[in-house]
Symmetry: C2
Subunit: 360 residues, 2 copies
Amino acid sequence: MQTIRVELGARAYAIHIGEHLLSGAGLILPHLDLPKVAIVTNTTVAALYLQQLAEGLRAGGVDVISIVLEDGESYKNWATLNRIYDALIERRCDRKTTLIALGGGVVGDLAGFAAATYMRGIPFIQVPTTLLAQVDSSIGGKTGINHPLGKNMIGAFYQPRLVLADTAVLTSLPPRELSAGMAEVIKHGLIRDAAFFAWLEQNMEKLLACDPQALAHAVRRCCEIKAAVVAADERETGDRALLNFGHTFGHAIESGLGYGKWLHGEAVAAGMVMAADLSRRMGLIAPVDVDRIIALLKRARLPIAPPGIAPGLLLQLMGVDKKAEGGNLRFVLLDALGAASVRAGVPAALLQQALALAAA
Amino acid sequence: MQTIRVELGARAYAIHIGEHLLSGAGLILPHLDLPKVAIVTNTTVAALYLQQLAEGLRAGGVDVISIVLEDGESYKNWATLNRIYDALIERRCDRKTTLIALGGGVVGDLAGFAAATYMRGIPFIQVPTTLLAQVDSSIGGKTGINHPLGKNMIGAFYQPRLVLADTAVLTSLPPRELSAGMAEVIKHGLIRDAAFFAWLEQNMEKLLACDPQALAHAVRRCCEIKAAVVAADERETGDRALLNFGHTFGHAIESGLGYGKWLHGEAVAAGMVMAADLSRRMGLIAPVDVDRIIALLKRARLPIAPPGIAPGLLLQLMGVDKKAEGGNLRFVLLDALGAASVRAGVPAALLQQALALAAA
């Protein structure tokens, strides 16, 4: 097991990474105010891992209730959140009950927001079960739900007390989910660590085959990078925005295709290609850098361009209006493989050219 | 104008108290990230003060949108909160838009929770227009909504950047609202400041007549007391609970009568009598102390006992079950006029006797 600290002063916490951490409750028990937990999960994950986690906790003397939600991003809404509140109230959970999110990004976001807002905040632990959640969404305290008018519009920054990343569970992931998580893994290398990007080039096939050592290394390195970025800028007033590399394009692609068609990681992959292409057009990186990025994404079985979406629609979905086109365009761009920065004053013409990739 | 600081480190803020602070935007402007604000208020307050506040801000170059809610505790729910979200999204408010709550406790709680959760938190300013909001609910960062199964079950701790308490607006309060706020004023004296309690005994009639000097003094002293308590224990893990003096009983009374029948402050007044009576039965204060409390509440035109509610029902509404009766009963009690503490091990028999007041 390896442990990484997210240094956030009074809200600091540990991320434990290793195989088969789920079944022993020993890592969780010291973080409970009272021996009572509510596990929030979904039907898919419950069938695989709920019993394992719950039994370990019960063996440790913990009163465990479970709240099993439907599986899917379309359930990341107020109605599902309210189901969690109802269950917490009906089961007489109070401020000392710990909420545990067992699942991927949707479960973590929903459960985290429930923990942030039930009785004005109760203890919270993340047990991410997808690669994307282990390397990205479970760390850093972003929680929330979608609003009919926008994704993640309602939410809170709320840090967990502990993140438990059991890499053994990744072997049960459908290959498409594993690849989608790999997009965020590659992103961490691109924005912060050229050596890690090169390591990914050496080890992509091992990762896709769920080689335990390779997975453990990738998850650890991503957690280290994300933990450092979050510790320096918890509320995204500065460098935390670098974690959004490829996401402005990616969100527009997700939205343009209709939510649920592509996985988030798939849209981010195609979005990173656009952002890399724009970085090249700005003269920041070389064509060969873009080629390396595309090659690695392809090997990770990720899409590198969405099926034809008109550039005009993408612009609109990115919230770029006529005024913004006047010169206020800001994007996270690459200065090199392994280094990113926020750049303002992106010429509209170059943006149009990068977007044309989507129509190709 | 007088200014009190709530010392909360990076989240510290000022409470300005004075007459006619509403019309000048000068106190608000320095706290805005961008010159764009969304004022959340209700129909009653909008008719009296919205124009005044909005025009001052517009004269200061601020883009002002207003969101006018229905008036009443029954609207402190998800549906109303969603109306705020919808309006913020439709009017393209982003993370740099400041939300201003203009109104009493319900508006402050709702708007504060919207500010805490819209795009994971936007700047927030409180402009309380009731006595209760000026001396209590606008300070300390408690925000939230009611859930069908419980009051204030959903919420967040979210501090404003500024509280602007314009005492001139209190003259427009219905007498019953003014009295209800006086219950919390008296509470601040009872739990922390015997001299202030004695001052209230000297000045109650002036306060009820909205004498400007007297009101300014009472609001200031309450803000000082609450600011000190909150600064020492923001998330209510210790002494902040003392602010709940009379509230465990009060909430049960509100609930037993049916919400909306009594104002919160009225229920708190009767609840404080029960808590004082229980303190006397525990041998902590003298009968003459209880008499002084009852006399002052009466002069503030507040009820001192609810119309007959069976003690058994009150016990149930207070969440006291058979197990708790075994000895784990904890209450905020008075050690003297001006000093309170949380006491465990209250004998069930004494509690029953105090509750019998309600049936009298």
